[in-house]
Symmetry: C2
Subunit: 228 residues, 2 copies
Amino acid sequence: VKTASPRRTRRTKSRVRQTRDLSRQKIIEVALRLLDREGPDAVSMRRVASVLRVTPMALYNHFSHKKALLRGIAEYALQQAAFDGPEGDWREQIRHCFRAFRGVCLQHPNVPRILEMAGVAPAIVFAPMEVTLRALRTAGLSDQNALRAYFTLVAVTLSLASYEANGPVPDLEPVEQVRSRRIAGHGYSALEQLNVQGDWDYEAAFEYSLSLIIQGIEVEATGTGRKK
Amino acid sequence: VKTASPRRTRRTKSRVRQTRDLSRQKIIEVALRLLDREGPDAVSMRRVASVLRVTPMALYNHFSHKKALLRGIAEYALQQAAFDGPEGDWREQIRHCFRAFRGVCLQHPNVPRILEMAGVAPAIVFAPMEVTLRALRTAGLSDQNALRAYFTLVAVTLSLASYEANGPVPDLEPVEQVRSRRIAGHGYSALEQLNVQGDWDYEAAFEYSLSLIIQGIEVEATGTGRKK
DNA sequence: ACCTGAACACCGTTCAAGT
DNA sequence: ACCTGAACACCGTTCAAGT
């Protein structure tokens, strides 16, 4: 029940387009593997080309610049997500959609990073947008507010997934640790007494964020929220 | 009423530390100016050094690597924000805190980008964290849930500010426009009928996100929310 | 239409040397 | 402690040329 039918449409204008698309596909697959295994820095035109045993410039026949390749990678990865869930409550539709989104982000932990990068938004992001719009219309929101909610949900999903993928603590270097302690000396009482037991549960945190936003939408939809 | 006292603390171990810190400061100011005027790519060790009429390697006496410099820039920019607001309701405290956060992000539109980059989280991010923790304790949340709410708020603030700063549409290239139309053909009905009048109001969108999350917290705090 | 080879104008960072 | 100069191992992309 995927929203976007994945690149099956036949182009009518030429016959042997297959080759071109196969090649494009191959490049993306290699690049995604590099991204998954060695991180964003490994995805250079030169690295990708060398894995494919080809000149860097050969890639420019398929992608006009690196950003287009990154977009291709992100699109390819996100196509694996089934944003559409089973019929049901708008709450569950949204939960399903963004759980699916988070799912592919965890399978390809560096995809959020390249999505965050300069204008690298592939067309596929319209799929979760569609799901969200439909769900929130049934909830009674205006299109404008539904879009706003969508951006909120995407932001949180991407950010938490990225944070989860790239290590728990952004560990400052030793030097800055000291400086930060110095800063921390000045009235960070809430932080000093901070009380959280056990390891950080990323999934629970994601679900909590989801709940906050959904409950917020609920209030907004039923008109219980005070106007500012 | 700033939370973090900005680098005024005197280091006791040497006398002419002034020079070192002045230089560090100078580097950051030049780098931030480059970031603001020419974007993240302009902030290279070589560019920064050349503006300062100095060898690239001279910078490494003050920052052990580029990431440390980026962290320094982000910290410097964020120090200009007054996250602490006037006393008051936890709702208004949070609103004030993240409006201030958004404010510096708009003054330095590329700061969100470098914050999103690899582990570039300066110690100053603890300031809004402190404010949020305090506010949400008075709202009755556990520290764990308060932290989760904090991450939600930061994610949304940064993401929307970044989106606002870097042009309204991530305009796909012509080629991909066509492909996206093709994809859009398949059942994107909600998007096709999408009805939003006038230009996109970024500030209103931010305020709406803020409201969603705050109202969600409210529900969570008063225990009205159904447990999953 | 697709690929190569050489070149251009950049990167971050190491290392040895100077003061 | 701070800075230089040369070098290493990379980048993305243009351009002219081949098939």
